[in-house]
């Protein structure tokens, strides 16, 4: 049985650890005692400067603001139908991650397939160098206000 000194030392150590993990956010504290947050968990808070919800990710180095999340949730690609999963797999292989717009679109399969087929057909070997297509696409994205 640890004595009182050891218990206090352990408590202080745990408190410091919790603070490091982002548990110092008052919203998630209960009764003044920091509640632990596992690394990788997603928290959210509203900042005074903004009316919208900003998402925070708890990392081993503290709390990091996530890129702003979309207004609606997309599907979990693991639960998508077989053919749709193949598209997600291909995109993941190309870009290293699932794309949020694609996950959202997948909620309405007709829109998803219109988008996926168009993307695939336009991405075929083209008469225009990819560099020039990229110049055009990036400038359009900038002009319309799409963060890439």
């Amino acid at each position: 049985m640890p004595n009182a000194g050891t218990r206090m030392a352990n408590f202080a150590k745990k408190k410091a650890c919790h603070k490091k993990q982002g548990a110092h956010l008052s919203r998630f504290s209960k009764g003044g005692i920091p509640r632990p947050f596992p690394v990788g968990s997603l928290a959210y808070t509203t900042l005074p400067s903004s009316t919208r919800i900003d998402y925070l990710t708890v990392t081993s180095n503290g709390v990091r603001k996530s890129p702003t999340m979309a207004r609606i949730d997309g599907i979990d690609p693991r639960h998508a139908p077989f053919l749709m999963r193949q598209v997600f797999k291909k995109v993941r292989k190309m870009l290293g991650r699932d794309l949020t717009p694609q996950k959202i679109t997948a909620r309405v399969p007709r829109v998803f397939w219109t988008d996926a087929l168009g993307e695939w057909l336009l991405g075929q070997k083209a008469a225009v160098p990819h560099r020039q297509q990229a110049v055009l696409s990036l400038r359009t994205a900038v002009r319309v206000g799409c963060p890439f």
């Binding site: 979309a70 070997k125 990036l138 319309v144 890439f148």
Partner: protein, 97 residues
């Protein structure tokens, strides 16, 4: 990203044209024109584009720009943030056309 340097991407992002060859500068002006509302590509710009690209190439380029307009505007409805695909200094393997 497809052979574009960070500086070139910065020029694209700042709405400038400097540093790009005439065909690419014409494409940037085309992207600007297509992103405007109402969208209008002037006769001068079209003549300039035709000097550098065939009609088939322009069909592909117009489709690419229109598609990007679709995609970018679609994302605005749901306020989709960046998926973090581009980071300064990160270079993807260049694909050959």
């Amino acid at each position: 990203m497809y052979g574009l340097s960070d500086d070139e991407i910065a020029v694209i992002r700042d709405g400038r044209l400097d540093g790009f060859a005439p065909p690419e500068a014409a494409l940037l002006r085309m992207a600007d024109a297509m992103a405007d509302t109402p969208s209008n590509v002037s006769d001068e710009l079209y003549a300039e584009l035709r000097r550098h690209f065939s009609e088939e190439q322009l069909i592909e380029l117009a489709a690419a720009a229109a598609r990007e307009n679709f995609r970018a505007r679609y994302n605005r409805v749901f306020d989709v943030g960046s998926d973090g695909l581009y980071r300064k200094g990160l270079h993807f393997k260049q694909r050959t056309a």
